[in-house]
């Protein structure tokens, strides 16, 4: 029964796929970090093109924008009581967690599509975090607390977020969204996946990228620290000694 149902959905999405085309564009494909960088935001613009055969949709369109930052190997640990002290005991590894993850939608994700589709296609923050590939599962849902903790801690830093008013329709066919990037979002490659829905079904989707890179002085310091680490260490040591000597000269009064 379930297979049949899934098949129907798949057929429905295939048959409706050519009807609408989604065109998206980012305001910036290369965000530069310089010495006064304090975070930024990137605009996503999109248009929905319909050809002559497209059936009129009873309901309007919905858009979900999912942004994934560079991958990190994260370990979440839980402190538990052991005698009089609290120490780290249980831990859960997230080998492929995105450093940044945001989901912007045109309305509440529950209204856009069904739970099953969300889980299967990983639409929405919860679906991504609770997906089986996000971390290795344990028996009896023991991994659930760790997934929740990861979400909570990342959300506090503004690195994981879901905004159900993040996508605005300018006309019924044209929309825009603004991706907020806090300053702590690390440099690297970011994927932007835009998915178009109508009546709980996926019509089309696009994937684009943008890059967050250090430039000028910031980039050079990073490169020297990586490629000439001994020289860099000695230089830092010399600077430290120089400043120490300078202060001694300046304050020489006695």
């Amino acid at each position: 029964m379930r297979t049949l149902w899934l098949l129907l959905i798949t057929l429905a999405s295939i048959s409706s796929a050519p009807a609408e085309t989604l065109i998206t564009s980012l305001s910036n494909h290369r965000v530069l970090i310089n010495s006064n960088y304090t975070g930024t935001s990137i605009a996503v613009f999109g248009a929905i093109e319909r050809d002559a055969q497209t059936v009129a949709r009873a309901t309007g369109y919905d858009v979900v924008v999912t942004v994934r930052g560079p991958r990190q190997f994260l370990v979440v640990r839980e402190r538990e009581r052991l005698g009089p002290v609290w120490i780290n005991q249980e831990q859960q590894k997230f080998p492929q967690a995105p450093a940044y993850l945001s989901v912007l939608t045109s309305r509440s994700i529950d209204e856009i599509t069904s739970v099953q589709l969300r889980q299967r296609q990983q639409i929405g923050l919860r679906a991504i975090i609770n997906s089986p590939v996000f971390t290795n599962e344990r028996g009896a849902g023991a991994d659930r607390d760790f997934r929740e903790a990861l979400y909570r801690l990342k959300a506090q830093e503004g690195l994981y977020l879901e905004d159900e008013r993040g996508v605005t329709f300018l006309t019924p066919d044209i929309f825009r969204a603004s991706i907020p990037l806090p300053a702590t979002a690390p440099p690297g490659e970011y994927n932007v996946e835009v998915t178009l829905f109508a009546d709980t079904v996926i019509l089309a989707s696009t994937i684009t990228h943008f890059e967050l890179v250090k430039t000028g002085f910031e980039e050079q310091v990073g490169a020297v620290a990586r490629d000439w680490s001994l020289l860099y260490g000695l230089a830092t040591a010399l600077i430290a000694i120089f400043f120490g000597w300078l202060a001694n000269m300046i304050f020489r009064r006695d």
Partner: protein, 309 residues
């Protein structure tokens, strides 16, 4: 005013970092300690990755300690011979400490080892010093003489072990063995905990070897410069975690703070100096103890595991 840190990969407030550097530098100059045990937790609290915090604050310690050492040399308050022996033993101790560090990490209990060592070291050293200085205050009030300076024939037996050496500046004629043991222990603890060990050197020289207070500060700073320089370069090579921009900001704040600290330290009465240092150590020890005992508001924590390719 915000500035982006190229290695920590995040922006920080320039004034805040300068102020932190000055505050820790002041304490460092005042007591002749490195101040790493104060700076590292502060930087981590700001959100700077722990590896970057530990590695970068060693640059600030080098700078502020260089200032103190140069000042001590001018005032002839540095015992070269004692300092050299402390450094030599310290390097051997560091090697042992690095080895133990790796072993504890393999066993998966590194966090626990570090917190427990902090708590024991700070509370033991702090309370021993507090006890001493309270006793001093009492004998002074009763009109008795403070017997901190050595008197003829008053020697602990271990000071008379073989291989005795004369340290003119410290007015010492003692065996090298207890001094080497001390420096071994300091190097070991320093490598394990990421600290210079000044807070162990200072009380040990004061109470075990009865070195004059003025010489203690200069000599301990000399030992700190040497070990921290090695640590700084090692951190840059192995972890690539030294942030030059952050280091320069901390240094600028730190050297000024250290100057005022050192100046104030010279005018401080010796008993008060020891009393304040005892209180500082106890407070830090207590803070770590509370962290261990009190139920955390957020029991979970995230760490980024380095992907080494």
């Amino acid at each position: 005013m915000q500035i982006y840190l190229p290695i920590a990969e995040m922006p920080v407030s320039v004034l805040l970092i300068l102020g932190m550097g000055a505050a820790v530098g002041f304490i460092s100059g005042l007591f002749g300690i490195g101040g790493g045990f104060l700076m590292t937790p502060l930087l981590i609290f700001l959100g700077i990755p722990p590896a970057v915090a530990v590695a970068t604050q060693s640059a600030q310690i080098v700078a502020s300690s260089t200032t103190s050492v140069l000042g001590a040399i001018r005032r002839d308050a540095l015992d070269h011979k004692l300092g050299a022996i402390l450094v030599a033993g310290g390097f051997v101790g560091s090697a042992l400490g690095v080895w133990f560090f790796a072993a504890a990490r393999r066993a998966g209990q590194l966090d626990l080892v570090i917190v427990v060592s902090y708590v024991t070291l700070f509370t033991v050293v702090g309370s021993l010093m507090l006890k001493e200085s309270i006793r001093e205050f009492w004998t002074k009030r009763k009109g008795g003489t403070v017997r901190l300076r050595r008197q003829a024939g008053e020697h602990a037996s271990y000071l008379g072990w073989p291989l005795r050496m004369r340290f003119y500046r410290s007015k010492l004629y003692v065996s090298v063995i207890p001094i080497l043991l001390l420096s071994l222990f300091i190097g070991f603890a320093g490598a394990l905990l990421g600290i210079g060990g000044g807070f162990i050197v200072v009380p040990a020289l004061l109470y075990i070897f009865r070195v004059p207070t003025t010489v203690v500060v200069g000599t301990s700073q000399f030992q700190i410069v040497c070990t921290t320089l090695v640590a700084l370069v090692l951190h840059a090579v192995t972890n690539q975690a030294v942030d030059m921009v952050l280091a320069i900001l901390l240094i600028i704040g730190g050297v000024f703070g250290a100057q005022f600290g050192a100046r104030m330290g010279r005018n401080l009465r010796a008993e008060l100096f020891r009393f304040l240092l005892a209180i500082l150590l106890l407070a830090v020890g207590l803070r770590f103890a509370l962290e261990l005992v009190i139920e955390p508001q957020e029991p979970f924590s995230i760490t980024v595991q380095e992907l080494r390719e």
